[in-house]
């Protein structure tokens, strides 16, 4: 899944693009992350944002909820990558809300600790985060998906007559797939970006769960 095998290759790639020197690679991304902002949405809707706590059967999840300040939008559930809930994912959620969606970005590791869950954000060495990722599995994905989609459906800013979307990154890819499997009648679209472990030869392979109901990927 997350590219712990490729750290050296990633370093070379960043170097080749002139982003960093070898010496900088370990410590560059806090500064660079602040400099690289997402492009603003054209005709952006003004949005309302809040840190929220969501009860699940396994505890309380600290999450970020952002939605158009007026009216309703289709609900969207965002599953971050292994670096978890952090400023970059808040930016992405906000960006999507400015396009008219009511967006929940979750801390997938709430059972273990509150966000931020990666000590150095996206520059945290992956091996340090593997134990966190290993606390999650198909059962927790399904439990959480139901809790989060259910929570979204109770918000006045979420359009009840429109299907919801879900998108996941890296280890969040399988979580997005399983969200559709957990709530097949409520989820209408799934996005997985650099998803890891979507296809396995095990019976809990996320792909095995998919071919049901009507959805777009």
């Amino acid at each position: 899944m997350c590219d712990q095998d490729h750290f050296e290759e990633d370093r070379k790639y960043a170097e080749a693009r002139g982003l960093v020197t070898r010496k900088q690679f370990g410590g560059m991304m806090l500064g660079a992350g602040a400099a690289m902002m997402l492009p603003r949405v054209a005709n952006a809707a003004s949005v309302t944002e809040a840190d929220v706590n969501i009860k699940t059967p396994d505890g309380t999840a600290d999450c970020y909820f952002v939605h158009p300040a007026a009216g309703t939008g289709a609900g969207v559930l965002i599953w971050p990558d292994i670096f978890g809930l952090r400023p970059a994912f808040r930016d992405m959620g906000k960006n999507l809300a400015e396009s008219g969606y009511s967006v929940l970005v979750v801390n997938p590791f709430y059972r273990t600790k509150k966000a931020p869950t990666a000590a150095k954000g996206a520059e945290t060495p992956i091996p340090e985060l593997i134990p966190l990722a290993q606390t999650l599995n198909e059962t927790t994905h399904m439990t959480d998906a139901k809790a989060f989609i259910g929570w979204l459906d109770k918000q006045s800013s979420v359009a009840k007559n429109r299907k919801m979307g879900t998108q996941g990154y890296c280890m969040g890819g399988p979580m997005a797939f399983r969200t559709a499997a957990a709530m097949p009648d409520r989820v209408g679209a799934v996005g997985s970006f650099h998803g890891g472990g979507l296809v396995t030869d095990k019976p809990d392979s996320p792909l095995c769960r998919q071919p049901r109901a009507t959805r777009s990927f």
């Binding site: 790639y13 970059a88 969606y101 996206a122 296809v199």
Partner: protein, 61 residues
């Protein structure tokens, strides 16, 4: 871990299930979407984001 066969399995499975799916391998390193990663690729990330907006625009209308 590279998974060069996954795109084929994904395409075949979605086709068999008659579900619409856009499966694409972007020319970027694993982790290229979030803008705070070391392998962030602005051009490809923005392209993926625009495809996401198209998908949501259709499927969540």
């Amino acid at each position: 871990m590279r998974a060069p066969n996954d795109k084929t399995v994904l395409k075949e499975t979605f086709a068999k299930a008659n579900l619409p799916a856009e499966i694409e391998v972007y020319p970027a390193m694993h982790g290229w979407c979030p803008h705070d990663t070391t392998v962030y690729n602005m051009e490809q990330s923005q392209r993926a984001w625009s495809r996401l907006l198209v998908l949501y625009g259709k499927a969540l209308a």
